[in-house]
Symmetry: C2
Subunit: 307 residues, 2 copies
């Protein structure tokens, strides 16, 4: 994996699927390139938005390989490698490190509830030691609403003591800004990405490095100006405009809402396929979402953008 | 898969592990035979107790193959095949059906929270249709404390309408007896296994078929008499004696407690290895558990039993 530290506006890349629920590798690679050409500094495939936990390890490895072979700049990618199964988390993290990715985004094991700090430390330790790549950059994935297992300050402190700069950062998808702030106060220079662009500006001001968000599949052209201008006078206005869009999108199930918008932006209805148990928006929900986004002037150029 | 319906005292089989966290196939097969020789009517490997979600698909498939080759009577096995990933759930369910297992025990996909009934129906439907084996007997795994996703009465009704006897039953690990009772009232003849032997007698009296429990790795010699004598006068006393043991065991993390007891019963300390994030009991916890079990007269012959 590569220096320097990953920074900026990252999209949690949607996974285009075939009608039979296979990842569509060609459309996936094309979408990665499209995102980098449309405001994203970097990409975070195979996270929650990418429906990674609904995909097999073989499907996920094929996506990483397709991206690398398809010319996606891997140093700009922080790739999800989480699994409840230690052996699978190792396989995927090793593969992502070997592909030269900017980082691996690792969930805690999420089946057993209330695991001990010792148990979580053991899990992350085993992954790091088995991967055995000194260039590995690990981003811890804090998303307690879905993982049910939080990444705590004491756990990060312990991992950083043991593994130093391998513990490169954290994606905070808790939706609780105070949580990111606490990580940044405790660990200055820690690579904290907000899980929503709603907190992009406060995160940058507090020393964080950017955002990794589902909605930046669509909103990156509005998020990037916040990132570029965050020290300037216009930053608050730009953030306000960005947040208004995010709030509309997150009033729907996010994966479904973003796939709906992509279907409308590109004219490709196959974007509406989601792996069960996730479901696409209904036609009525999709139409209502489109109306609400059209009502936001900042969204109109994005919705009319060519795919 | 085979008729007649699976019934009786099943152990949710523990997975013996090597020090490097690989399933120890020889010890696993030996443990399966030992359970059948020590009070179990049947076996449920690769569930929560078996740490299946901490194992890769390849590791799980190897265990099924080792059991079949090792002479474990597959018709007496209801094998866990759950995964958040549709493709993995299909692979494992197909393999288990092809091996002639008595059933497949399938969790709902457990990463995304609050999935719709439509989404869950789609997941189970895809598994059944892709496996495409008319002899498949599917047991739905209701364990909301860990899966976070309940199996509801309307979902079962819909699945039974669509797939008939393929939807053979349910393992109720909710710990809420009223939940099992509701399934049995709504679906007479449904193959409901209690997830704890604490509810074995009420479950049989209400029309259920038995129990699939972590603690019957150890308590099967006490549970089997309840099953055999459930219509008799002694049933309540036998259940009371059984429940007293279960209550001690479940005051600890169950996988760790059962592995601790197996280590003590067999003298094989390698039983104390659990996959992270689960952890073995501490030495003090193990000693306290042993003392509490020794204090129960009904447990003494079990603790002194040869491995």
């Amino acid at each position: 994996m590569t220096e320097p530290q990953s920074r900026g506006v990252y999209a949690a890349v949607l996974t285009p699927l075939t009608e039979s629920f296979e990842p569509d590798l060609a459309r996936f690679v094309a979408h990665c390139h499209w995102l980098l050409a449309n405001g994203c500094d970097g990409l975070a495939p195979l996270g929650t938005t990418g429906e990674a936990n609904s995909l097999s390890v073989a499907q996920r490895l094929a996506m990483v390989e397709a991206a690398a072979r398809g010319g996606v700049p891997m140093a700009k990618c922080i790739v999800g490698t989480g699994s409840c199964a230690l052996a699978d988390a190792v396989t995927m993290t090793r593969s992502v490190a070997a592909a030269g990715a900017g980082g691996a985004l690792l969930l805690p094991p999420f089946y057993y509830k209330n695991p001990s700090e010792d148990g979580l430390f053991a899990f992350f330790s085993e992954v790091i030691q088995r991967v055995g790549d000194p260039a590995l950059k690990l981003y811890l994935y804090h998303f307690p609403q879905l993982s049910t297992v939080p990444i705590t300050l004491p756990l990060v402190a312990r991992l950083k003591r043991a593994y130093g700069d391998t513990i490169a950062g954290l994606k905070d998808s808790s939706g609780d800004w105070e949580c990111s702030a606490a990580f940044l106060r405790e660990f200055p220079g820690f690579g904290v990405f907000s899980g929503s662009e709603e907190f992009l500006l406060p995160n940058l001001r507090a020393g964080g490095v950017g955002c990794i968000s589902a909605s930046t599949n669509v909103t990156a052209p509005l998020a990037r100006p916040v990132y570029l201008a965050w020290r300037g006078n216009e930053a608050d206005g730009l953030q306000h405009s960005l947040t208004a869009v995010r709030l509309v999108l997150q009033s729907y199930p996010l994966q479904a809402a973003l796939k709906e918008v992509m279907a409308r932006v590109t004219g490709d209805r196959s974007w509406r396929v989601l792996l069960p148990p996730n479901r696409p928006l209904t036609a009525a929900e999709g139409a209502a979402l489109a109306d609400r986004l059209e009502a936001l002037p900042q969204m109109r150029p994005i919705l009319r953008r060519a795919a």
